[in-house]
């Protein structure tokens, strides 16, 4: 055999091995990857990194986490780009349950939004409730010179933004009007980016407490959480599986396994203790045991009022026969 023949055969064999290996590798990955579309707050705080590490250590699966606002996370689910969604905007979530895209809703955690502002609090909102605070901010904004930014919004279709709109409404303002004020700005992006803009601009902002604390402890921002807690600032996180009858590519069994783990004592413990090491306080409260115990109050009643659909966590027709999730 001539040298060039040997080389040619070796090259062909090598190419085939590489191609076959790549196909096998991609295929293996595809079978063991669970795609999770999530709100930015769960990701930016680092909670999902902790969840991912714990879950992957005990399961033969790779969690592929895509960080989006709640609005886009829900949209990706109906486009077939997710197997599980983790979101925090009940009013935005319900239509996806009703149209069959999502099933098996479980409330996994709650915490509170906060109104964050400069430490000097120029609008004097400390000690007020959310409604009064927004009124003070509007009054303060009206007295500023043109070009001063007093409020920074996300305006990205996220759960936090939906909450902001409902707070403006509760305070007696039309959001369209408020957002047209010269002191009102938005970034259209995630929580951490927007918090940073608000800090640099000495402006007020609505944020989930977790993302705020993550940036504050990291020294990125030195704004203060001026108002937090209370029913109007309640923040409830839910997990959903994508319905395989609607989205045929959805990996339903793996999604359910993941949700079962999230609501198990192990998963709930990861959620409830997350942040204790770095922030000396936990950022999320595990909701599963609280809802079972109907305690602590008034938090649980607020969750029932704010986040339940027809008086329950997940109406039975949307449970996809996964009754083990609801015992």
């Amino acid at each position: 055999m001539k040298a060039w023949q040997t080389i040619l055969i070796a090259a062909v064999v090598a190419t085939m091995v590489v191609i076959a290996g790549t196909i096998a590798y991609v295929d293996l990955n595809a079978r063991t990857t669970l795609r999770i579309s999530t709100t930015t707050s769960l990701f930016d705080t680092g909670l999902l990194d902790a969840v991912k590490a714990e879950y992957e250590a005990s399961h033969q699966v790779t969690l592929q986490i895509v960080e989006q606002g709640t609005g886009l996370a829900l949209a990706s689910a109906s486009a077939g780009d997710a197997d599980v969604v983790l979101v925090h905007s009940p009013s935005q979530e319900y239509p996806y349950l009703a149209n069959g895209t999502l099933v098996c809703r479980k409330i996994i955690a709650w915490n509170y939004f906060a109104i964050i502002g400069p430490a000097s609090d120029p609008a004097k909102i400390t000690g007020e409730n959310a409604t009064q605070a927004l009124q003070s901010i509007v009054a303060y904004g009206g007295n500023q010179t043109l070009g001063t930014i007093v409020w920074v919004s996300r305006n990205d279709g996220s759960g936090t933004f939906t909450k902001e709109q409902s707070l403006w409404k509760a305070a007696g303002y039309n959001w369209t009007q408020v957002s047209g004020e010269p002191w009102y700005a938005y970034t259209g992006t995630g929580m951490a980016d927007t918090l940073n803009v608000a800090y640099q601009k000495n402006a007020y902002i609505l944020s989930d407490l977790g993302t705020y604390l993550a940036l504050f402890r990291a020294g990125t921002i030195s704004s203060k959480a001026l108002i937090s807690g209370g029913k109007s600032l309640l923040n409830v996180y839910s997990a959903y599986a994508v319905n395989p009858q609607k989205i045929s590519s959805a990996k339903f069994d793996q999604a359910i396994t993941f949700i079962e783990w999230l609501i198990s004592p192990t998963g709930q413990n990861v959620i409830s203790t997350f942040g204790e090491a770095n922030y000396s306080q936990s950022l999320f409260y595990g909701a599963v045991q609280a809802l079972k115990d109907n305690a602590p109050q008034p938090d649980v009643s607020w969750i029932q009022d704010y986040a339940f659909f027809n008086g329950t966590e997940c109406p039975v027709q949307y449970q996809a026969n996964q009754t083990q999730l609801y015992q």
Binding site: Q68, G69, G71, L72, A75, L146, G147, I149, V152, N155, D156, G157, G180, E181, P182, Y184, A185, Y186, T187, G188, T189, D193, N196, V197, Y199, Q200, K201
Partner: protein, 246 residues
């Protein structure tokens, strides 16, 4: 697959509607982009041209090193420059007192810095290609040194203007500096969102028709300017475009 195609067709249709109905949001963003990168290019010409003249007409030790330095900076990744400027301009940073972060001024300055190496390199080439005899001639005719420089610059004016256009294009089409230094803030007064940052924002929000409309405007302007540069460099090229290569 049909379901997947619809959003694209839909997005493009809506994008055309937005462009041809003169949507104020779309055009507002386009004007702001033109203004930011136009100002940045003018600034870069203002401080880049004198540096380029010194580099090409004066002799000093380490000259080729300095030239090489500017040439290699042309490839500066925009996100890296964005990060550097972010750290400098940040409220707690060394230049924080200037209050440039997340302001239009910050974006303009950042983009001007980004394109400065480009303008210097192109202008150096343009000036060096001018016959040095012109300078000698001007000086023998009794011109002072600065007058002689101006005579050379006049000859190289075309090259400098083209370098300005190239700089405008780079500033106009880049994302990193505008996004990191500007923050893509949408506000009635003092907004910093431009075409590129808004395209990225609208994609993140799932509003593809806006993203497509803005991308079309971006592409038309960038290609248009490149075409102008190409034609201006070689006007005869238009005649030969239609012909088969020999």
């Amino acid at each position: 697959m049909v379901e997947r195609l619809n959003p694209i067709v839909d997005g493009i249709t809506k994008a055309f509607q937005l462009i041809f109905s003169g949507d104020p949001t779309v055009y507002g963003i386009a004007y702001r982009s033109l203004f930011f990168s136009g100002t940045a290019a003018v600034l870069a010409i203002l401080w880049g041209t004198p540096i380029a003249m010194l580099l090409s007409l004066k002799d000093f030790p380490g000259k080729s090193l300095v030239k090489g330095f500017f040439t290699s900076l042309i490839g500066m990744p925009t996100v890296a420059l964005g990060l550097i400027l972010f750290l400098l301009f940040s409220k707690d940073g060394p230049l924080g007192f200037l209050q440039l972060l997340y302001t239009p001024g910050g974006v303009i300055l950042g983009e001007a810095i980004l394109v400065t190496p480009l303008i210097i390199s192109i202008a150096v080439n343009a000036i060096e290609s001018v016959d040095h005899e012109i300078m000698n001639l001007a000086e023998t005719l009794g011109a002072s040194e600065s007058q002689a420089y101006i005579a050379v610059l006049k000859e190289a004016a075309n090259g400098v203007i083209f370098s300005g256009l190239a700089c405008f294009n780079r500033a106009f089409a880049e994302l990193g500096v505008a996004l990191i230094v500007g923050g893509s803030i949408v506000a009635r007064v003092g907004g910093t969102d431009v075409l590129t940052t808004d395209i990225s924002m609208y994609i993140a929000r799932g509003n593809f028709s806006m993203a497509i409309a803005l991308a079309m405007i971006l592409l038309v302007i960038v290609f248009g300017i490149n075409l102008i540069i190409l034609i201006a460099k070689n006007p005869k090229a238009i005649i030969t475009w239609g012909k088969m290569p020999q």
